[in-house]
């Protein structure tokens, strides 16, 4: 996706998900497993601890198809996921990372 511009991202109808999660070793498997089990491709992923490190934030770039609504509901059900926010593909988080992927 590194070569895609913001407008191209939008054309592919992508969405950016922002998750607040508890920070421990299993959280990533729980979140990513939900997508892979349903053959729902995650295009990009970014995780960093926030604050004291008890929590992390996960950013996901995903294709926006008719299953996304259901995916978000499933993610919300995970015990270690505290909040899910949905953004459009124009969100800057991955765009600003592009320089590391050239």
């Amino acid at each position: 996706m590194n070569s895609l511009t913001t407008t191209e991202n939008q054309a592919l109808a992508r969405a950016v998900l922002e998750l607040d999660v508890n920070n421990h070793a299993g959280v990533m498997s729980h979140v990513v497993g939900l997508f892979s089990r349903r053959a729902y491709n995650v295009e990009a992923i970014l995780v960093m601890p926030v604050g004291s490190g008890a929590m992390s934030r996960i950013w996901l770039l995903v294709n926006e198809d008719e299953r996304l609504e259901q995916m978000v509901k499933q993610v919300e059900k995970l015990e270690d996921v505290l909040a899910v926010r949905r953004h459009g593909a124009e969100h800057e988080v991955f765009v600003r990372l592009e320089e590391f992927f050239v």
């Binding site: 070793a25 299993g26 498997s29 729980h30 497993g33 089990r37 609504e69 259901q70 509901k73 499933q74 919300e76 059900k77 995970l78 015990e79």
Partner: protein, 559 residues
């Protein structure tokens, strides 16, 4: 938290104390090296440990306890093969939303990731089949994790939780001065009042409504509220496999089970309805058939505790997230007892024109006849479990289920081997009841080793073994959909089931050899303790009607 004199105890002792404080009276499992500290602590507890003979059996015993009571039940296994043997029972609990707490031993923390003896990634393996899981990092953590495991298992839509505890954590000494409160189900947010008002208005103005009950009705204790709503609103009612017993089958409004093996009248009524009120049901493919052909004319009200079920398969016109019992009780006063005469007459007409046909119902040597004969010896206090196959569907069709939690069956995963250990669990949890397990000659062998557990625990479990010398449901599918190419579904070797049972210490009778099978059945079912009742069934018998896989429900064949 309750404060007491500080004690220095091990992680294993903490676990056992927390289970006792949680009110757990019986656990089922099998020990092994990586969980021995827990077993050592358990040996000094008042908790009754039931020694299963296979971890899957132990898992299904815990499921039987949980399904019969609604309270989370506990199973235990050691690391490696112990844990992997448990997985099927956990996956089964996930698909049927059964509250289960599985506790597994793990290799000591410093050895995790070294391919140590009997090390498997139990945490990773169990992620997709649990509601939540834990790998416990220290004995202290148990004080939070164990009550949380019970809370999660019981809260909202119930489900299995796995707690993996490394051996060194079990042995770790820590000082405990305060004990946490037992884990209990979370309060559920009140449903949206406006949505309830819209749902009531839709029910009041519908001309051909149907109430569609799922397993969630049983889980939330909503059976009474559902029957009350059906009566007030004049709603013909269908049930999923999981909901059987929620409304007595012989209730005037009951249309019995819908879907793949539902009666013609049931699926035809659904085809005509203009409003479907789905309660604690998830539009499973065995219930809906081809989704596009399911209730094609109907508006949908969908009530479920799990918001992710709303709009998952069918988009609801009104979707209400909430505890289904609460929602039904709030709906009730807003219902205006509408005039339903034409629709109820139409449904009555469908029932007389297209009833469930049960050939042989009066002959105890046929499938339906045997099931009815068993029922005639019992009252509604009996609990019924099944294995998976034709016998399961015949029982679902023919047994007069009238009580929620009377019926324990593996619905979502459809696991052969479920029935007997689940019956043992149900009998352990409710020893006053007679528990009958209907099984097949294929399924019974999948957990046959638990016969000795039944004998050891002297549980009041009667196994009715319907022997058709085949994997009957496979045989039926090959007959109907694979040009009668019968392959790998007919047994060549046949164990002598009477001697098998007796060899395990369980008395057995063979109805084939009884001149008066009814009298023999009635004597067997009124005795106490475990017993196997063997009955031969003709191989060609089919479960009908049947919706061919992928077809719409109204395209059912037979019956």
């Amino acid at each position: 938290m309750s404060t007491q004199r500080p004690e220095t105890i091990t992680g294993a002792q903490i676990l056992v104390r927390l289970l006792e404080r949680q009110g757990v009276r019986t656990v089922a499992g099998i020990p092994g090296g990586a969980i021995l500290p827990v077993y050592d602590a358990l040996s000094k507890s008042t908790i009754h440990h039931v020694l299963a003979r296979h971890e899957q059996g132990g898992g299904f015993m815990a499921q039987g306890m949980a399904r019969a009571t609604g309270v989370p039940a506990v199973c235990m296994a050691s690391s490696g093969p112990g844990a992997t043997n448990l997985l099927t029972a956990i996956a089964d609990a996930k698909l049927d939303s059964i509250p289960l707490v599985a506790i597994t031993g793990q290799v000591p923390k410093p050895m995790i990731g070294t391919d140590a003896f009997q090390e498997v990634d139990t945490y990773g393996l169990s992620i997709p089949i649990t509601k939540h899981n834990f790998l416990v990092g220290s004995a202290d953590e148990l004080l939070a994790v164990i009550p949380r495991a019970f809370r999660i298992a019981a809260s909202g839509r119930p489900g299995p939780v796995l707690v993996d505890i490394p051996k060194d954590v079990q042995n770790q000494l820590v000082e405990v001065s305060e004990w946490p409160a037992p884990g209990v189900a979370d309060q559920i947010a009140a449903p949206d009042a406006d949505l309830i008002a819209s749902a009531a208005a839709m029910i009041n103005s519908a001309s051909r409504p149907i109430l569609y009950l799922g397993g969630g009705v049983v889980h939330s204790g909503a059976a009474e509220a559902a029957v009350a709503l059906a009566e007030k609103a004049g709603l013909p009612t269908v049930m999923t496999l999981m909901a059987l017993g929620a409304m007595p089958v012989d209730h005037a409004l009951s249309l019995g089970m819908l879907g793949m093996h539902g009666a013609r009248c049931t699926n035809l009524a659904l085809d005509e309805c203009d409003l479907l009120v789905a309660v604690g049901a998830r539009f499973d493919d065995r219930a809906t058939g081809k989704v596009a052909g399911f209730c094609p004319q109907a508006k949908i009200i969908h009530i479920d505790i799990d918001p992710s079920e709303l709009d998952k398969i069918k988009t609801a016109h009104v979707g209400i997230a909430g505890d289904v019992r609460t929602v039904l009780e709030l709906l009730q006063p807003a219902i205006a007892s509408p005039q339903r005469q034409p629709w109820l007459e139409r449904v009555a007409h469908l029932k007389t024109e297209h009833p469930l046909r049960m050939p042989g119902i009066d002959d105890p040597r046929t499938p339906y006849g045997l099931i009815r004969a068993v029922a005639s010896c019992l009252d509604d206090e009996a609990t019924i479990t099944t294995d998976v196959g034709q016998h399961q569907m015949w029982v679902a069709q023919a047994y007069p289920l009238r009580r929620p939690r009377q019926w324990l069956t593996s619905g979502g995963l459809g696991t052969m081997g479920f029935g007997m250990p689940a019956a043992i669990g149900a009998a352990l949890a409710e020893p006053q009841r007679t528990v009958v397990c209907f099984s097949g000659d294929g399924s019974i062998l999948m957990n046959v080793q638990e016969l000795v557990t039944a004998a050891e625990e002297n549980v009041n479990v009667k196994i009715v073994l319907m022997n058709n010398s085949s994997l009957g449901l496979v045989f039926q599918q090959q007959t109907l959909f694979y040009g009668e190419r019968i392959y790998a579904s007919k047994f060549k070797g046949m164990p002598d089931f009477i001697r098998v049972a007796e060899g395990f210490g369980v008395p057995a009778i063979d109805l084939d050899k009884e001149s008066d099978p009814l009298a023999a059945l009635s004597a067997a079912l009124s005795s106490r303790g475990p017993m196997l009742i063997h009955a031969s069934i003709a191989m060609h018998e089919q479960v009908l009607p049947m919706v061919p896989p992928g077809a719409a429900n109204k395209e059912m064949i037979g019956g």
